[in-house]
Amino acid sequence: MSSTQSTAPVLEVRGLTKKFGGLTAVKNLNFDVHGGEIFGLIGPNGSGKSTAMKAIMGIERPTEGTVRFQGHDVAGMPAHRIARQGFGMVFQHSRPLNRQTVLENIMVALLPDSLLMLFPDKALTERAKWIAERVGLGEVMHRRPPTLPFADLRRLELAKAIARDPKVVLVDEPFAGLTLAEVGTFSDLIRSFRDEGRAVMLVDHNVKSVAALVDRVLAMYLGEEIATGRADEVMRNETVRRVYLGGAIETSARPEANFTDKVPLLQVENVSVHYGKAQALDNVSIHVHQGEFVSIVGLNGAGKTTLFNTISGFLPYTGEIVRDGEKLRGTSAAKIARSGLVQCPETRELFGEMTVRENLDLGGQHLDPAEQQKQLEWLFDLFPILKQRQGQMAQTLSGGEQQMLAIGRALMMKPKILILDEPTLGLAPVILELLSKALEKLRQTTPITVLLGEQNVTFALPHADRVYVLEHARIVWEGDPGRFAAEAGEGYL
């Protein structure tokens, strides 16, 4: 072990930059990872951490910069060559070979990149068995993946990544979808990789979830490094706190008693949702009053989008969703949207090759021409930039303008309840301010009920009347935004 824990880093990343067209996803990233160390790359959704990991692995070709592995540069090589140098990557989502056994799936990872390997090698089978035992798949190695529980499928991913004894192990969101007990087991497994002298790099959303595991952390925001150090240092760092929690947050909540409807406008009662074997929502109950602005705060993967998609009628669920006293079960997604419960999705889903005006007109399709014109004028007043951009193709807009268009298109449907899913994703602070002002105007001047999902607390709290915190598929806190920082903020870093 001591020989691998030499002073020279196994992985040296210098000036790593990745641009997608005009968008810089990763900007001048520098860090080292040593053998026998667990290094965390942390950042909110859209901060560029996953892109950085893909650029190191060669899945995305870096635009600039070097990635030195044991002294020589591998930046720009295709993934399969980088993998053969001694890299293994644990993917968050996987598609194992369903007709092959677990053991055969692991065997695949052990095979040479050769076209002449026509007969299985006995030695490989032995090694595959050993790896299966090692990650805790010994009992199920002869079963096929479709029969396995979710945690075992994640184990299979670990097994494949370490199969060829890599010097560098990259792990994408190690604990996504796992229960607390499983998190403990997986932490131990990842620690064992470190103790064998490997350099381990994790990517995750927040420091908290990996604090107990990592030796050092680099926090990213908008593609850039904002802090590096031990987990506790980074959690105390002012910039990091501002990115995750915001500075002094001014809230302007109206007390719940002000909303006079006796039965809330929208009630979600004990809703659970499963994706195959992974539980995405666990007995979630929320309610929203007529005219209220409710924020659902939670990190990526907590279940916000699932909750919204369930309300919008896209997913099967157990429990009930009630609007105006009527159960929504059995109503099609299209009908739900037309009846005034409109979602503006996280991924925006703009019609990229249509103009701004065409996108908006599609939103207002069901209105009669005079009403549509009136709504459009109101909208251009809310987002003046869209008026100037009317004839431009949606995909050529900047990220902020696209977000405004997505919200605008939803508003053209004259929603009674507007669901906004992560509108701040990947946007610069100056754009956030513009969006924030527009939301405040909506709140002050219209009777629209808003349900906002956010991981950016700074953005979610100021307008909110009430806040729910969603964590690991459950609602863990509910209350007034003024109490958020004191009661729920700490757990959020």
Binding site: N98, M117, T147, K160
Partner: protein, 308 residues
């Protein structure tokens, strides 16, 4: 892979092959002729499944490879008087070269563009044949001086042996380590790359193997027919039939593709008395299977086994 020899699938295949081998002693020449063509189609469909089922690439132009093999062999025999067996070998080689030239650029494009490229290739081959009629026989077709055999039984056995050998090789390949890597590349190319596999290399190899068997089968088929024509080995409709056969039989099963091809050809012939309706009925059955049993004949059986 060893487990295959113990599986019921192997036993059933063996029995079917033995029964098929004895057919010439008690069925009519007409049925033998029908099955002979069906067996060559079986090889087309199996070669296609190697690409679609394992490499995950939809080749809309199987007849580009089949036609190149068939016409290369036919032209060499007709114009240059080369003996039959070298012609067949060169036909297969021609298909491999054509497949390589097509696949190398086509595999670099993503998503539906690979399929479109292969479709265009068929159209190019078709116009080439029509335009250079002096060489290819054009729309009338090319007469092939040599034939495999004039005896229906011998022709049948040649076709059956060819299909069985091809099936053994293609199925073995699909179950071998290389086949597993190919399957992984088709299912999740990003992860296969991160596991250290050069995806383009593996898919290119699959394309070449597919081209070899398609071309060889195409060449044998023209020496059975005694002619090569656009309508039998190049037309898009022939390609569609190959694709339908493979999907009907079961994606990712190889052997299912052969069953699908035999079913399509035999069913089409038995329904001939219904006239124009025949194509309609066969297509409707194919549509129902694809819509409700996307696993195909053999796929449904195999996936039930996988879940148990």
């Amino acid at each position: 892979m060893m487990s295959f020899f113990k599986s019921p699938l192997f036993g059933i295949s063996l029995i079917l092959v033995i029964i098929a081998a004895t057919l010439p002693w008690y069925v009519s020449g007409y049925i033998l002729g029908l099955l002979t063509v069906a067996y060559y189609f079986g090889v087309f469909a199996m070669s296609w499944d190697l690409l679609f089922g394992f490499a995950g690439e939809v080749n809309f132009g199987p007849t580009f490879l089949i036609g190149t093999g068939a016409y290369t062999a036919g032209i060499l025999n007709n114009h240059f008087g080369l003996p039959m067996y070298p012609c067949i070998a060169l036909g297969a080689l021609g298909a491999v070269i054509a497949g390589f030239v097509l696949a190398l650029p086509a595999l670099r494009v993503r998503g539906p563009y690979f399929g479109l490229t292969t479709l265009v290739a068929v159209l190019i081959l078709q116009s080439f044949i029509v335009v250079f009629a002096d060489l290819t026989g054009g729309e009338i077709g090319l007469t092939i001086p040599d034939v495999l055999s004039i005896d229906a039984g011998v022709n049948y056995w040649i076709a059956l042996s060819f299909m069985v050998i091809s099936a053994a090789i293609l199925f073995g390949l699909s179950q071998s380590p290389v086949g597993l890597v190919l399957q992984a590349s088709g299912q999740d190319p990003v992860q296969a790359g991160a596991l250290g596999f050069n995806i383009v290399k593996h898919k290119l190899a699959a394309f070449i193997v597919s081209a070899f068997f398609s071309g060889l089968s195409g060449a044998l088929l023209v020496f059975y027919f005694g002619t090569a024509s656009v309508g039998t080995v190049v037309d898009i409709a022939v390609g569609v039939q190959v694709i339908v056969a493979a999907v009907l039989g079961g994606r990712r099963t190889v052997l299912g593709a052969a069953l699908g091809a035999i079913f399509l050809i035999v069913a089409g012939e038995f329904l001939r008395p219904t006239g124009e309706l025949a194509t309609f009925i066969v297509s409707a059955v194919a549509l129902v299977v694809i819509l409700f049993f996307p696993g195909g004949f053999l796929g449904s059986v195999l996936s039930r086994e996988a879940r148990s």
